[in-house]
Symmetry: D2
Subunit: 285 residues, 4 copies
């Protein structure tokens, strides 16, 4: 016989843009908001009875209404308010998760902005009616490259190992970082800026013998610079740049011309915790 296990449902990718014209230059909050709700949803799965199902269309409406009601807030604060809204008001909803992707814009005039580029600020909030709220900030698609100061040698070998050792290589990655806050009360904007800067500084400042070493340094730096954060999780693809062999053409290549490869790529993942980090509960679930 079959049993219903964990389940959740919601509205994904609500694209809300909020314009703040209260001062010049005007500013934008440009967000992609996803909501996911859980509770006792047995009946709708078994018989299709929807009386406990708040429509995902209503969830979309709620995103827009709260954007209007809350006004200019950081995405972490918005996500917290949105998650609590559903759990507090809707019988049968015991847990809500909200994700916000936030896209950056830079003023180029009093009423004009240019999109800042590929980098995305991320927020994941979980609010549980019993155990409370967790906030995870982050970013993705922050692409970093060191032109030198990276080596890779002394690695393990087996009979299928053909890689040459190197004492000077390009090290490049597209950072996906998420950081867990200790509490739900924080100067979110400052925390984000400091965490981002810590990632850049640690990557740039680490003479690296492996991408794992850079990852750990980046996690430690965020913890050091943002005391409100107690845990950092990083996923760092190793965006390989291969030195092109130009010797068949009578040319040397002193770490100058590279082929930027697409696939495959290395992928390094790890978490770094403060030694006094409280239990994560369902923060990452």
């Amino acid at each position: 016989m079959a049993i219903l296990g964990d389940n959740r449902y919601g509205k994904a990718e609500v694209r809300v843009v909020r314009v703040d014209r209260s001062a010049e230059p005007h500013t934008l909050a440009d967000w992609n908001v996803s909501v996911s709700l859980a509770g006792d949803m047995r009946e709708v799965h078994l018989s299709g009875a929807n009386d406990r199902v708040l429509p995902t269309d209503t969830q979309k409406n709620t995103v827009y209404a709260l954007a209007r009601r809350l006004g200019a807030v950081e995405p972490e604060a918005f996500a917290l308010a949105l998650a609590r809204h559903f759990v507090d008001r809707q019988p049968g909803i015991s847990r809500a998760r909200v994700h916000v992707d936030s896209y950056g814009w830079t003023a180029v005039g009093p009423h004009s902005l240019v999109r800042s580029g590929g980098e995305v600020r991320t927020v994941a909030v979980l609010h549980d009616g019993q155990s409370g709220s967790w906030v995870v900030g982050g970013l993705r698609e922050l692409t970093l490259l060191n032109t030198t100061d990276s080596e890779f040698w002394g690695f393990a070998r087996d009979e299928l190992t053909t890689l040459a050792e190197t004492t000077d290589r390009i090290l490049a990655t597209s950072v996906e970082a998420r950081w867990r806050f200790r509490s739900t009360d924080c100067d979110w904007g400052t925390a984000f800026s400091r965490a981002r800067q810590a990632l850049v500084d640690a990557f740039a400042g680490t003479y690296s013998y492996s991408l794992q070493q850079s990852l750990y340094a980046m996690g430690c730096r965020v913890l050091a610079e943002v005391p409100e954060v107690c845990e950092v999780r990083l996923a760092l693809p190793n965006k390989h740049h291969f030195l092109v062999d130009l010797s068949p053409f009578g040319l040397d290549n002193d770490n100058e011309v590279y082929h930027a490869a697409d696939r495959p790529y290395g992928l390094i993942e790890g978490q770094v915790l403060a030694d006094d980090a409280p239990d994560a509960g369902p923060a990452w679930s």
Copy 2:
């Protein structure tokens, strides 16, 4: 002080194609293989010492060498062999995870094939040196649509609810399904075909009052048709098709002309288990 938490590393997206010319029509295994290894990797994170790090380049080589050695096998068997290879041979590697995406091709001549389309067969294998192996099969991008036989009404309401009830709508989704096998010994090809057919049949055959109801029916059907499977996890985006209001133009629209929306979309996620499903251990980790 900072502590290193869970971590892993590997080579992602190794694109291997194996041609079997032993009979006509020739056949292809067209795979995208990702490897992720874990073990005691403290030293490389802290000091950059790589002596326990089997290069991701070697992992790539291993994918190709095993494709040659194993010959014509199902992707589940390949992933099992590959994961075990690393844990069995490499001191310091205690756990390996292998993902395989498999793309379908159809013969159009003795030596000619056409790519079957968007649908992708997936495999995720975890092998742990202590606790053994888990196999999760699946698929994604199987896009299904019912033109009718779907209703949505009687749902919960709050002051932000504006959605109209409907007793006849299009129901469409792009199925992402993963199913956990009870053991590591199975007729993988037959199991995949039956699971896929069960998903299609249950979606098509369910008169649906909510996508959750269809999800549960699909999970139950896989369990019923593939007894080697003990758990199914499904993620079903509700690909909304909105009936276009043509009344301003003096036209009726009797469930005929729809706008296919991109974003936002509903997202329904759930798991269905056999009542005798063994503990999942790290299968989904």
Copy 3:
């Protein structure tokens, strides 16, 4: 001083789905329609006066209204009617171009369908108030592969040539084909099916010494099988499959294990015309 040159404007990517429930199994037309209009638009560019600008929002409405009015028609016929609609009725619009991408679905039940995959049928219609209408059919993302029967040798060489000759390689491509019809009156559905089959048959049936040779054979075959067509344009990326060198591991590799590369790729483009092809006019503009 600056002069306004050619210009056009329109609504792109109107996603319209039309359900035909008149018989079982139900069928779908699943289209992505783009409209582009041109005429004397000097004033709107120079001063912003919009009195000759039919809003792109109206163009979107027109797509939906015509889908309702025209009912079950082939996309070529729809595009013709839509393009003529704007030029015939709107003073100031002298030329309209309509593109339709059409996605395939296969019945899996009386009211149920599964999306057929990545392949897309395309239509481009141009209607000019003075010179009339042109219809270009086509397809893209038809991925074909020959496991053998392909050689590449005897090519030109310079001092930067390092490629080895081969007498047995995989040949794979993702076909983008467009074919110009002689007239605006045709059995569009049959013509499409025959053209697609001609492309597949010619690719599969050509023992190929270069992808150019296959391209020309494919163009000729379409002309031969679909006499309503007078010109074929093809863009064929050479999706390289590189034989993996397994000799460092003591393994042979008799055209069995390949690496499927992403970038760079060869790109072969060409057109094949019937010797009595009428002038193309603005058909491709």
Copy 4:
């Protein structure tokens, strides 16, 4: 009977990265280079004889070798040299086209850089053995938004028009611009910077009654600021931001909360020429 028409072939998307370590901070040229060659290629299409076909693999090698030989040059100069290389040296090649996409990086340390974001600088060079060389510069994915100073009213209407007029809307677009240079000798870096700035300034500085008006202003501004340019071609998608109707929830919405739509979108295309622009020849072919 069938006739071979226009044709060309080449290597697409060669990803070359050139590091300049001659001064700190180190700098990067990060390019995606595509080559396309044409000449008398009848034989290879008809019989597969490759003696006039310089392999696309050699074209790839040439990109890397020239990156080494030419050192630190602007992408326009690189494309010119590369196109001429093939036509000058290879009998049978009469025309070469080279495209370069260039990705920006910003120094964050003496040896460290961060990718600047989505915006891409583009170059298209055509060199013909008889008629000479043409250079087209450009950019794409420059996303601009005005929070106000945009109206849309007084437009043409028909019986399918339902759009409301507005005197205050968001105007947003993702600029794709290409500009034709008068000659092949120019300070390419400065020209690019000025053209980009002209686009931003004209978009931000135009009180707009239609996106066409902004397009024309942008083209004129580039011509005015970069006298080396004689023609500008622009494609501006109208990235619609729809004001959300919050009145069902008892909330006003004074141009504050918007839904950012994906599809469909308006698409405005146009060219602006200097009145003394020389004939374009095959520059845009």
